[in-house]
C-alpha cells in the first residue's frame, strides 16, 4: 500500500489521488460483492444449507430474515468493504494518524476470523447436539438428554476460546478450566469404561482371528456350552436353556477350552 503510494505519488498530481481512491473504492466494492456471491455459491455447493438445517442457529438467523450461508458470505463482503475503505482513505491521504489506522488494519482480519470461528463453532455445536441427540433417541432415558447438551456447550466453549485467543484477550484462566474439564473426562472414561474397553480390545481379536465360531462347543471357566453369538463386547454361550453372557475380557483372562469330540 505504501509501495503504491510511493510509485504513484511521483506520477500523479494531488487531484489524482482522489480519483485513485475512488477507483479503489469502486473496484473493491465490486470485488467484495463478487466474493460474497462466490462464497454463497461455494457454501451452497458444499451442502452447507442442508448441513445446518434444523440447528437453532439457523432458526434464529431465519427468524431475523436471513440464513447462515448469507450471513457468512455477507460477512466476507463486509470484511472486504472495510479493508477497501481503509485503503482508499489511506491513498487519498485523508488520514494523518497513520499509526492508529495501521493498528486497526491488523485488527480487522483478526476480528473477521474471530467472528467466523464463532459462527462456525455455533453451527457445528448445534449440529453436533442434533446428531448426538438423534443417535441417543432410541435410549428411552430422560437423563440421557444431558449428553447432547454437554457436547454442544463443549464445542461452543472451544470456539469461544479460539475466537478470544485470536483477538488477543487473556484466556489463560479459561484454558486451565478446559484442561480440568478434559482431565475429568479422561479420568471418568478410564474408570467407568475400563471393563468395556478391555472387553472390546479382546473382542476385536476374537472377531478378527475367530479362535472359536458360532456352533463350536467351548468352555470358559466354569461355563460350558455352544457358542451362539460373538460380538465386540460379549460372547454368548448356551447350554440346555442357560445362556451365559461372558465379557470378552473374561474369555482372555481365563482362556477358552474348545471341546472336540
Amino acid at each position: 500500500m505504501r509501495l503504491l503510494q510511493v510509485d504513484f505519488s511521483v506520477l500523479l498530481r494531488d487531484q489524482f489521488q482522489f480519483i485513485l481512491a475512488l477507483l479503489i473504492l469502486v473496484v473493491g466494492g465490486v470485488a467484495g460483492h463478487v466474493i460474497g456471491r462466490l462464497n454463497r455459491r461455494l457454501l451452497t455447493a458444499a451442502g452447507v444449507p442442508e448441513a445446518v438445517e434444523r440447528t437453532p442457529f439457523e432458526r434464529t438467523a431465519q427468524s431475523l430474515g436471513t440464513d447462515t450461508v448469507s450471513l457468512v458470505s455477507r460477512l466476507s463482503s463486509w470484511f472486504i468493504y472495510g479493508v477497501v475503505v481503509l485503503i482508499a482513505l489511506n491513498v487519498a491521504e485523508l488520514l494523518n494518524a497513520r499509526l492508529f489506522w495501521n493498528g486497526v488494519l491488523t485488527f480487522i482480519p483478526d476480528l473477521f476470523i474471530a467472528i467466523l470461528v464463532f459462527i462456525v463453532g455455533f453451527v457445528v455445536a448445534d449440529k453436533a447436539e442434533l446428531v448426538v441427540g438423534e443417535r441417543l433417541r432410541s435410549v428411552k432415558l430422560p437423563e440421557v438428554g444431558v449428553i447432547p447438551r454437554l457436547v454442544k456447550y463443549t464445542i461452543v466453549y472451544l470456539a469461544a476460546l479460539v475466537a478470544l485467543g485470536q483477538l488477543g484477550v487473556a484466556v489463560l484462566a479459561l484454558l486451565i478450566l478446559l484442561g480440568a474439564y478434559a482431565f475429568a473426562i479422561i479420568l471418568f472414561g478410564a474408570v467407568a469404561l475400563r471393563d468395556l474397553l478391555r472387553s472390546s480390545a479382546a473382542g476385536v481379536y476374537l472377531l478378527l482371528n475367530q479362535p472359536y465360531g458360532i456352533g463350536d462347543e467351548v468352555r470358559v471357566g466354569e461355563d460350558r456350552g455352544i457358542v451362539q453369538e460373538v460380538d465386540v463386547f460379549v460372547t454368548r454361550i448356551e447350554n440346555d436353556g442357560e445362556e451365559y453372557i461372558i465379557p470378552n475380557s473374561r474369555v482372555f483372562e481365563q482362556g477358552v477350552v474348545r471341546i472336540r469330540n
Binding site: L207, D216, I226, Q228
Partner: protein
C-alpha cells in the same frame, strides 16, 4: 336429506378402538386431543409420533387387508383389543396420507401366528424382517430372471450349526456381514444359486451358506405337496428354536416355519 358424514357415521359407530396406520405427526395430534374413551392405537413400521400404544408393523404390507389384519393381530397379542371388539381403522390405500376408514371386528380366528413370528422369535424382529425382505425380493426377481429357491434359518445358530453339516466351503467363513447391510442382499442373491441353507444368528450375522440340514423329520406336519426344502425347514425349527424362511422354487411363495409348523405364507408379487 341426511348429509354424507351422517350416513357414513355407521362406520365409526360404537367402536371400541381406533387404529391409525402410519399417521403423520399432525394427523395423530388431532386424534390425541379427542377426548373419548376410545383406545387410540398407532400401527406402523416405527413409532414416529411417540404414541403411548403402538403396534409395530414389521413389513410394509401393500395389501390393506393384510396390513389391517396384522395390526389387529398384533394389538390382540399385546392385549390392547379383545375378541369381538369393533375396531375402526384409518389407513392409506392410494396415497401416502390416510385416505380410507374401515371397520373391522377383532376375532380369535384372525390369529395366524404371524405377529408371534416377529415379536416372539429368538432372533431380533428386525433381522427376521430383513430376511423376509431378501426372500421377497429374490422371489420377485429371481436369479437372472429364473425362479430360485432359498432356505434361511434364522436364530439359535449354534444349535442349527450342530444339526447340520457343510456341503462345501463356507463362503461366509471369517466374514462379519449381517443381513440388512446394503451389499449383503446382492451377496445372498448370488449365493442362493448354491444348494443348501443359509444360517443366520440371532443378531443377524450370516454364519454360513451351503449347509445341509439334518434334523430328524419325524412327526413334522407340513402341507402335502411341499418339497424337501420345506420339509427340512419345518424339521429344523422343530428341533431348535430357530425360525425358517423358505422361498419356494416351484410356486414362488415365501413361507415361514416355526416350531415345526407353517405360520406364514406370502406371495412376493403382492409387495
Amino acid at each position: 336429506m341426511a348429509d354424507v358424514s351422517e350416513l357414513l357415521g355407521d362406520v365409526t359407530e360404537d367402536a371400541d378402538a381406533v387404529f391409525l396406520f402410519s399417521p403423520s405427526g399432525s394427523y395423530y395430534d388431532r386424534y390425541a386431543d379427542l377426548d373419548t374413551d376410545l383406545d387410540l392405537v398407532v400401527v406402523g413400521p416405527e413409532n414416529s409420533v411417540g404414541a403411548d400404544t403402538f403396534v409395530e408393523l414389521p413389513l410394509e404390507f401393500d395389501n390393506v387387508r393384510e396390513r389391517i389384519r396384522f395390526g389387529i393381530e398384533g394389538a390382540m397379542e399385546q392385549g390392547l383389543v379383545e375378541d369381538g371388539d369393533v375396531v375402526v381403522c384409518a389407513v392409506s390405500m392410494f396415497e401416502d396420507s390416510i385416505d380410507t376408514v374401515t371397520r373391522a371386528r377383532a376375532s380369535d380366528s384372525m390369529h395366524s401366528g404371524v405377529y408371534d413370528l416377529f415379536a416372539n422369535s429368538r432372533a431380533d424382529p428386525g433381522v427376521i424382517r430383513d430376511v423376509f425382505d431378501v426372500a421377497i425380493e429374490l422371489g420377485q426377481k429371481g436369479q437372472k430372471g429364473k425362479p430360485v429357491g432359498a432356505l434361511f434359518v434364522v436364530g439359535d445358530a449354534g444349535k442349527v450349526m450342530n444339526k447340520s453339516r457343510p456341503l462345501s466351503y463356507n463362503p461366509f467363513e471369517k466374514s462379519h456381514v449381517h443381513v440388512g447391510d446394503p451389499i449383503v442382499n446382492v451377496m445372498l442373491k448370488e449365493f442362493s444359486r448354491l444348494d443348501g441353507a443359509f444360517v443366520i444368528s440371532d443378531a443377524g450375522k450370516i454364519v454360513s451358506a451351503y449347509r445341509y440340514l439334518e434334523p430328524s423329520a419325524e412327526g413334522v406336519d407340513i402341507p402335502k405337496g411341499l418339497g424337501a426344502r420345506h420339509m427340512a425347514a419345518g424339521a429344523i425349527t422343530r428341533e431348535t428354536n430357530a425360525t425358517a424362511i423358505v422361498l419356494s422354487e416351484s410356486d414362488g411363495l415365501v413361507r415361514a416355519f416355526k416350531g415345526g409348523e407353517l405360520v406364514l405364507e406370502l406371495d412376493p408379487e403382492e409387495y
